[in-house]
Symmetry: C2
């Protein structure tokens, strides 16, 4: 792993950094290829939006420039062309209490790793998806934001263990929200259906790419509450996130499902890079 912390290599955080104290910040995980960030405009748009929602000062006037320069530095430093870059932006350091001064300066930590190679079968045959007990919080002010309050994902991942590739989480109202590490889509009778994320969950950048690309294809899209009971009726499904792209589902709660036609189209669009255009 390679780390940059506020411009310095291999930084350490002060113990009172608000990321460690209160999870007071957000993060962005990006796929890097030859020093370039895939889907950069969408990452920048999401980051700007989330910073504004949390009232965290942007760490630079031009976030696109900032992220790009990190990606170049990391690639040069590591000699790793295919990587994953994680950027944590915390509200900053403060000595005491939930409050903060308006002049507080945001703190950035950047991590870079070689991209993990998933087996080919993940994309050609699909993956198993189960339903978890661990829930997603209902918190409308934080829903959609990729903030640092990720304890429930940690618990979900632990519960998932090795029983399947991914586990779906519901919220307390009984609606399916997302996977422990991905967004989820269902393909049914040529339509695309994905959970509403206004009360719970993270609206991933790859989810936005999928929605935009499906819209271009003229596919009918439903973003809505999805109950557990409905899962038994969907013909196909896939997962999305910025690191692993589009991953078809081959079994959903122990029920075998085939890879759908639309899923294949989206998977190919991701593999060829067309989905980012």
């Amino acid at each position: 792993v390679w780390v940059i912390d506020n411009q310095d290599y291999l930084g350490k955080l002060d113990g009172w950094n608000r990321s460690a104290q209160f999870a007071d910040g957000l993060f962005e995980t990006m796929r890097i290829h030859d020093g370039k960030i895939l889907g950069l405009p969408q990452h920048v748009a999401r980051l700007s939006n989330d910073l504004a929602r949390l009232n965290i000062q942007p760490p630079a006037a031009d976030l696109s420039d900032l992220l790009s320069s990190y990606a170049h530095t990391m690639t040069d430093m590591s000699h790793v062309a295919d990587g994953v870059m994680k950027v944590i932006i915390s509200r900053g350091d403060s000595e005491r209490g939930y409050g903060y001064h308006d002049e507080i300066k945001p703190h950035i930590t950047v991590f870079y790793n070689q991209a993990a190679q998933l087996p080919d079968s993940v994309y050609t045959k699909g993956v198993d998806v189960v339903l978890l007990q661990t829930q997603c919080a209902i918190q409308p002010q934080l829903a959609g934001i990729k903030h640092l309050n990720r304890l429930e994902n940690v618990l979900a991942k632990k519960e998932l263990g090795t029983q399947a590739f991914e586990g779906l989480m519901q919220n307390h109202l009984g609606f399916i929200i997302e996977g422990a590490m991905s967004n989820v889509f269902f393909e049914h009778q040529g339509q695309l259906i994905t959970p509403e994320l206004t009360l719970s969950g993270v609206a991933g950048v790859m989810r936005q790419h999928v929605l935009a690309f499906a819209d271009k294809l003229g596919v009918k899209i439903e973003i809505r509450d999805i109950s557990i009971d409905e899962l038994a009726g969907f013909e196909h499904g896939f997962l999305s996130n910025s690191v692993m792209g589009i991953v078809p589902v081959k079994s959903l709660m122990q029920r075998d499902v085939k890879i759908g036609k639309l899923t294949m189209q989206l998977l190919k669009a991701w593999q060829s890079g067309v989905i980012y255009e």
Copy 2:
């Protein structure tokens, strides 16, 4: 502020500490007097319980000894007799992803500050309490735990600003849960009423002291869902937390309320230290 980090003075965290990455940990805030922790057994019991719920390895076989030794060291180091000690226990360091190895070692950071002196009027006249828009998450697996996912408290504190001493938060079901930095109690016709915290909120140690002491007094206690509408009907109220103890309410959502008899009894029990016995 004085800091101990895994035994070293003025520690710095690795950027990949899981507190900073995922809020994967918990904390405990304790009042210290002459090197002694007020309500130590209750703090230890809560900490043990929360560590177990999050499947975090206890950082020592005897948490009571560990916390006491930190309190002594901090008092010696700072020459501050009346202090507040905050202990953050994270699951530890890991390089990548929500998952973790079973051998992961917990990481402790300890902060010590002089206790803030609240004006006498806070206790003799009471404080203003308003209702906030910022909600408490509904997350049964995390409810009650003093975990590091505190972004909503940060937002609540920001919303509160200087409009009142404390702001109450409700959850998405419309139930009052707690204040931005305290638990809340209502006194009505000699009874004590406080929110159920099985879906949302933090079950503070001072809340436990209050419940135990009221029980000893033979007071009827109701722990239950409390809707916003009910607030208008309660005769008296008070706030509790480990740092500021028992704080009477003098206005509740712009309605003046008198300090109740039971509230006074509990306040005196805290001031004299009897509440800890």
